[in-house]
Symmetry: C2
Subunit: 381 residues, 2 copies
């Protein structure tokens, strides 16, 4: 039976766009060199400042997908030949290494294994072995594996060194109550189509005053210095992604109306509930330290994750498969943009899919496990 | 009296978004790694191929504003130290020169005066004086002045040389019935918020086989080689601007349902009509060879263009002021995305604004001049 209302999307980006935001996206365009846009942009920046809990306005937005802001991080804070450590624990860690090499940084790769989280002590040792290290490039949430790297702990390692801690937080910002300044992060990259619940095409780059001192002019389109100067005044160096800025104002308002502590708490309940539910079905969670943003499921050898994924899709529920070396080995369920009750849908579809593939499933068990965690979590706060 | 329905936008980007396109922009997001997106993207590419009237699929889209694709042109087709001629006749010509210098090209600037169009013979002489010249960077429509550079004539100059003709057609593509292959252009840059009538955030880069042979790997985010490989198969190297791709399919369909010959003819009628109308009010057109995309008006010394612009804005009609060294000296009325009848609104507002500023205006005269050109033009075809 074909899903009557079409597909629901549970992929780790893009994620479902809330109605409030879609209404903004469907509006007629306004010009960006107007008091109206300027005011909206300054408001958006003010909300973003609240989100990252910082006093200083050291951040810019780019009209690009998240990789564009990763490129900006590499080009604006490092010179050719600078030595950097790239933590590689998945596809996006690989992207840091590739970007560094493309722009002629001296990249030392720290392989941590796909699904593992980096040990801050390993980074500490590597920095001591490489005292000329100018940066550590890492993901907060490595969405190809679902692992969370403890960037707060990494900041303790980098803070008294010459190294900038550069965090791809594309699938962490808007999920975790990140406090980059307080934690001691140096560069934080975000993207619109993740926990900000927008279409792709807008990226964010926050930086510390330690990072600010190193700003270069290596990039033209992704030039942080130029953008910062303009954006603080409500303008941009080049035409901004107008509709996405206006929509970001709406989604930031949604996040802040709830408060980032509550938002993180919601994701924590979802994440724990999903883990328990998935395990109740005899499936494993891939990462040792799962990100709150998604649940990465590693089925036993005799179940094809792609068969599960396709079966769920037949029920109108789209989850994501694996990427890179995990292609065909896992499936991934995003929590981003989801409300607590939404996950009952995806778990129900998972139960049905497992049953259809010939596994013995006690219908309602996974959902039940999830709900018991939810009930405890919700009572707690 | 405040405009009841709010503002209408007649700026040379962003331009008014048609209802058909806004409906697409307000839809729920779909994932980009799906057969559904792939099919839509391949359809969009097919329509774009028809638009540029080319057999080969030598073009890519980027999630960026137009400047991003200009950066891509500089980085993908030239190596450090390459000598290029940048035609500078306005703000966007200056941007070519800046981009070239930022990425260490050897830039020879050919100043043509703001509002002037480049003389192909001057380019020919300059190439002969610089036989090591690897490229000529130019605008088709220099929207800061409203001048059109005859890129078809320039192609005759470059075609038997080593120089690539690199055309910023951001405000020309979708207006002119451009045939880059037939004309002999080498690189053509486009942007979504101009004649494609979309929000900003999507750019286009077309290239010839002569240009294709020179592709480099200097850029990571704007890498043409990688993108071409993926995009020919309906995918992208990085997350695409999904909603803008889907909306582009709609606006390309609109353009092609009409046919690019008819589209250009419509803009030609509008452009000629606007010129006659503006002159009937005792105002001058700045460029000698006006682009079909906009009308750039240079009022006499005793009229402040900003006063006209603000007065029109009070009537709900937004036109653009000057940029760079033309700031405060001109105002600009965009034709992009406009139907023939739309321009009566802007001309009516202009008549009222001039009268309010104390000029003697025979109401209906400018509109009348416009309509007489329209009537002749429409009868002709």
């Amino acid at each position: 039976m074909k899903p009557f209302k079409g597909e629901r999307i549970f992929t780790p980006g893009p994620v479902e766009i809330p109605d409030r935001v879609r209404e903004v996206l469907g509006r007629q365009i306004i010009h960006h060199r107007t008091p109206e846009f300027r005011e909206a942009f300054l408001e958006t920046r003010e909300l973003f400042k609240q989100l990252v809990d910082c006093k200083e306005e050291n951040f810019v937005f780019f009209a690009s997908s998240g990789t564009g802001a990763m490129e900006a991080a590499v080009l604006n804070f490092f010179e050719e030949g600078d030595k950097v450590i790239a933590v590689v624990g998945g596809k996006f860690g690989e992207r840091w290494a590739e970007l560094g090499k493309r722009y002629k940084l001296n990249v030392v790769e720290l392989e941590v294994g796909w699904g593992k989280s980096v040990d801050p002590e390993a980074v500490d040792r590597l920095i001591k072995e490489n005292p000329d290290c100018k940066g550590v490039l890492v993901q907060a949430s490595e969405s190809s594996t679902g692992a969370y790297h403890d960037v707060k702990a990494l900041a303790h390692v980098t803070k008294d060194t010459d190294a900038l801690l550069v965090v791809d937080a594309i699938t962490a910002l808007g999920v975790y109550n990140m406090k980059p300044h307080e934690w001691g992060l140096d560069v934080v990259v975000g993207g619109s189509q993740k926990a900000f619940m927008l279409p792709p095409g807008l990226s964010m780059l926050w930086f510390s005053s330690k990072a600010k001192e190193r700003l270069t002019d290596r990039s033209y389109y992704f030039n942080v210095k130029e953008e910062l100067k303009k954006q603080k005044d409500g303008q941009t160096a080049f035409t901004p992604a107008i509709s996405l800025i206006l929509a970001l104002r709406e989604s930031l308002a949604m996040l802040l109306e709830d408060g980032m502590d509550k938002v993180e708490k919601r994701y924590r309940i979802i994440s724990e509930g999903m883990r328990k539910a998935v395990e109740a079905l005899g499936l494993r969670i891939l990462p040792e330290n799962p990100s709150l943003s998604l649940t990465t499921v590693l089925p036993p050898e005799d179940i094809d994750p792609e068969a599960i994924r396709k079966n769920m899709l037949g029920l109108g529920i789209r989850v994501a498969g694996g990427q890179g070396r995990l292609k065909g080995r896992i499936f991934r369920i995003s929590h981003m943009g989801m409300d607590i009750m939404d996950m009952s849908v995806v778990l129900s579809a998972l139960e049905l899919a497992m049953d259809s593939l010939g596994r013995r499933v006690e219908f309602g068990k996974a959902v039940g496990e999830y709900l018991s965690i939810v009930q405890t979590g919700v009572k707690d706060g």
